[in-house]
Symmetry: D2
């Protein structure tokens, strides 16, 4: 249980380091009969690929995925889907000077504490390349969800001090935006802010919002596998995430019951509708059928070119700077990772929920028996 | 996998509804040889017991725990520890008028959607009484952690608009404070605020902070069972929690790398020390040996006596108010629940980490073999 | 993971020692909407209850089950079902003389080796009373399976040298038979054999056969959760079982492919049928729709009144005899335990299989969405 | 949970079909600091490789393993170890004539029943090539066990009617024997028997015995993760295994307590020793420190060249024969698979047991804290 497996029925296991032969994932439990090919997965991988703009690392990786198993004649067979992405551009010499140092904000010190030593080339397992397996598996989960009319959409909500506002959001521009911001005006300000950060050899944090639409009511298992609890684990497990919020998130603490409760009203046709969505689509850990809303706060990229005071393996402080290629902000590339973790969680709970009622099972087994 | 089990090695399974015969928990995987008796568990249960002040529900429950298994001659045997608390004060008649209504902010509608029907007496499984099993098991986990010098302390950070400040916190008064606030002056303002809420038949949200001290470095399993990811699941699984933050939490999004990285400095004796703790004691999902800091945001109690517009099982809107006994704020009683979920998570990852190195295993098996 | 939990979706956790306050089980993941009351569970518990004849221990236990949660208005709610059986007749004084000895064939020595000490009163957790939780949960699983036309029937196949033959089996007499043998003539010989064993202060082994009828094809998950693999774990986990066989079992090793393959023939109406069932209803770890057949071999009761040479905690050999009340054969009471473990395994794999195809899921979620 | 994952702490996930790009395994939870390279794994893979003699399939596969992650500077890092073996010789045209037929004794019919269709090229996921992942992972587990002085040795006990006897066994010749039989004389008879089978276009079954030496007492988790229960699952999950026996196995059913109990005697120096090992080294599901003994019964190879009456996807019977390259007996190549599954099970339970006592944990965490 070294923690590289996620999910109960739709279950993924990721593997790989930044400077080994490759990274990948095995998906076990994907239902049979889902149309799937490499291009569907590649599309999501391309969204997290480095080198897309000057705001992402200049490391050049094609990140081409190869399907090694689990597909036959264009459809999933129900058996494990193994996905492989070879590492190509492994300039491990860049990291030589920090093999004996613990980079601030990185997992160097904790991996050493846990395992006694570590693969110090570019973060090893704690590198951002680890998310390739998540994104590749997430693309499969997303494809499965689409079969049931469920869509998962994330975007950059803020970069440093620059926030977008709901009323200005144009979700159609997310994919074409270098910062994945659905607000062109805010994006200009964010770009200016990032330029400032880069000039001062610094980095910025930001937030990602994710919404799920078309979600059926009833997903999530009380008590510990609640939909929000599982999403919190899934999203917090992404490197650099320090907060996960559902619906109104931290704002609820200062609110009152009369304001925070989502009441129902009757529309002009006399049909009741949920008049607000403070809960973010989840009640008691179970989806209520309205849009699911979550937010993740990302810390600034830990690798900055400024000289920092670092602890060394020798037990002494060292004034050093970190070379190598690093994003001044990881949020734009992390958007698709948030989508992936959300899609994986919902796919898993969708399958788990299939067995929640005798009535559901009768639909399956009655048909099989006659 | 209806979700009532939590943990990999130190694993708990809770059960019970608010108006059935009782609630309880089975702890499987607690190591043998831990001194334990009912009084140690009762102490934590008493902290979440209702009827402690006018700010907590008037429901009278002794909530006396009975140990049904797993203890012999005052010590854990390594076999499952089954803990039972009988329900006593089950005035289910109070809930009769809402059997056909979906209370706003409650899980009524989602349980019906998931299972086709529900135990409508007082929330059933989604009642706050469900946390009794968590707290009882958490007391055992806490006892285990104390063996290794690890302490878990939570307290009320805010109630509505009233926040305590770090410099004014006096942690020695937490247990005696009716609101579990370590700041007497802030508590007075919070009490006044709650009186206002109660007069307007309303309720308040709040936040709970939790810190873990004495934690060894190395706990947490990359990639999906990171310490922060597992804590996020554990704490978000508590009813009414809508946000979980680690260290600086949501603040990191507006920060810069040069500010957010925790650097090391050298003290007057030339010994390096971590000069800040923005990370909250976790790097790459693994503890770094400094204090662990997390925060949970609780929504206001959903049950308020105001008339609200509720959806009914008949598909129509109804103007109704909710009778029964409810806390105007759940935060003070939830403090020990946050401690419990934190302790359970750390206990589990402490046991899991025992197998992380060949060197660790040699300490155990070498001794056994000679 | 002290091993007291079994199952992925239909998941049970048992607890309790022979001489503590009680024993029990929590069932998590039973689908909502299954009619259930205590009498259905009690019926199976009565089959394993001691004191039924002179061939079972004279220990008097009512073994009355109490449902503590998970049922509302006569049906399962989808939440955990907690079942409790209080221990009544705990004559722990009988065991005093062996507190310092390791009884041959018992787990005394291994529990001490594992945990450093043990509850020495009557076997503690390794007592046969541990199976009460299995049988109680098994009764619920069996009730679920009956909803889909699946029945699980076990019986005594052999006692010592006495075997029943297929052609003489009358399954209608299993429940009324003190030895659970479906062959009255063989039973007479078995009873005579047991009388001989008892006179010589000895005990006998035996075998239990179990068949499952009405099983849909498709249950079992390749590769490690194959139906036969999971059944092997489930049945081998019963104390005293030393062998598990599927279909022709050990006989296949001496067979040839041309004899062992189950071919299809055409009946007089031109309809194909499976002309033999050497495989016991499982191919590639997945049910094929024909009857499932398994066999468990039980060792003789380890507790015998003869003087035996036992190792003591003092590291020396001691010539001692074991007092107390013990069955000269455990097979008749174990029959319902084999049924329980089989039913639990099939119920779990039935629920897991619900998510095996996109087509299955469409039956559930399509209906929910319109 | 499509069942391709095995283990709680030392956890493997296998993937791959016989005629896809390759097969492989991800090992998660292998402790850090274990020396490992490809040659150690290749050694075991070579034992199951086809084409070793005329008694194994003529299919030519190099089966070269590539380590994709988890190793740094010759040692395991504690992160997932991904192992890949490319498929080379995929003559899928051989299988074309049976795409529409269900081969007797194969999983063709059950995969179709479960998933709606299947990869019909050579068995797909149910092919014997699936065991490559098991063997590769088993080699890592075996290496870990050797660190603690634990060895796992399996061999062919019988082929058809030919059994070896204990007193004639020469374990030093297992690896050089084409049939993995530790008895040269019996092997000659077995070879003659196999020649007969091959001439009649038939196949033979057989048995594999496995012994584990140097095992510490205390491994195995009551109740459902008993050492024997987990071994039963592990070994029964190997294709073609129809029975698993521990110690005396099925023989115990006809035995008596006075014969089956393993008593202790005193040797000439006054030191007690276990005078017999009917239990096969396991009591109450926990190892007792004596050699662990298990046996697996394999059915005859299902693919035979004789004409057989097969059911077709068209619902009719067909008289057909199966072309392709098949072993007349799979036992010799399965010997290393039994070793692998045994080693994987013991490695996992060794790691799980590390957390069984507070005393064990103090050895690890006390040292870390001072």
């Amino acid at each position: 249980m070294a923690g590289s497996t996620y999910g109960t029925i739709f279950r993924i296991t990721t593997w790989g380091e930044s400077h080994g032969p490759g990274v990948g994932v095995v998906i076990d439990g994907c239902p049979a009969g889902l149309p799937l090919d490499e291009s569907m997965i590649q599309k999501d991988l391309d969204k997290r690929r480095p080198g897309q703009s000057k705001y992402t690392t200049a490391r050049r990786e094609g990140d081409q995925v190869e399907i090694l198993s689990g597909i036959f004649e264009g459809k999933t067979t129900g058996t494990p889907i193994s996905l492989l992405v070879r590492n190509q551009d492994q300039r491990s010499r860049d990291y030589g000077n920090i093999a004996e140092l613990y980079r601030p904000g990185h997992a160097d010190i904790t991996f050493d504490a846990k395992y006694g030593f570590r693969d110090y080339r570019g973060g090893g397992r704690s590198s951002g390349r680890e998310t390739i397996g998540r994104v590749a598996a997430g693309a499969v989960a997303r494809k499965l969800l689409e079969t049931f009319g469920i869509t998962v959409t994330a975007y950059t909500r803020s970069i440093g001090p620059v926030w977008i506002e709901d009323q200005k959001a144009d979700f159609s521009r997310i994919d074409e935006s270098p910062l994945r911001m659905p607000d062109a005006e805010a994006e200009q300000r964010a770009l200016a802010y990032l330029d400032t950060c880069m000039k001062s050899l610094d980095s910025s944090g930001g937030t990602v919002d994710c919404m799920v639409q078309g979600l059926p009511a009833g997903l999530g298992e009380p008590v510990f596998d609640k939909l929000d609890a599982r999403l919190a684990q899934a999203v917090m497990s992404i490197g650099a995430v320090k907060a996960v919020e559902i619906g109104d998130g931290t704002k609820v603490a200062a609110s009152k019951g009369s304001l925070n409760n989502d009441c129902y009203k009757t529309d002009s046709d006399g049909i009741p509708y949920k008049a607000s969505n403070h809960s973010g689509g989840i009640l008691g850990g179970i989806s209520d059928g309205s849009p699911l809303l979550l937010r993740a706060s990302f810390k600034p990229t830990a690798s900055i070119a400024q000289t920092q005071s670092m602890l060394g393996r020798d037990g002494k402080c060292h004034e050093e700077s970190i070379h190598g290629r690093h994003d001044p902000i990881i949020v734009p590339r992390a958007v698709v990772v948030v989508e992936a973790m959300t899609a994986l969680t919902i796919a898993d709970l969708l399958l788990v929920n299939a067995a929640s009622r005798v009535e559901n099972l009768k639909k399956i087994y009655a048909a099989d028996r006659t």
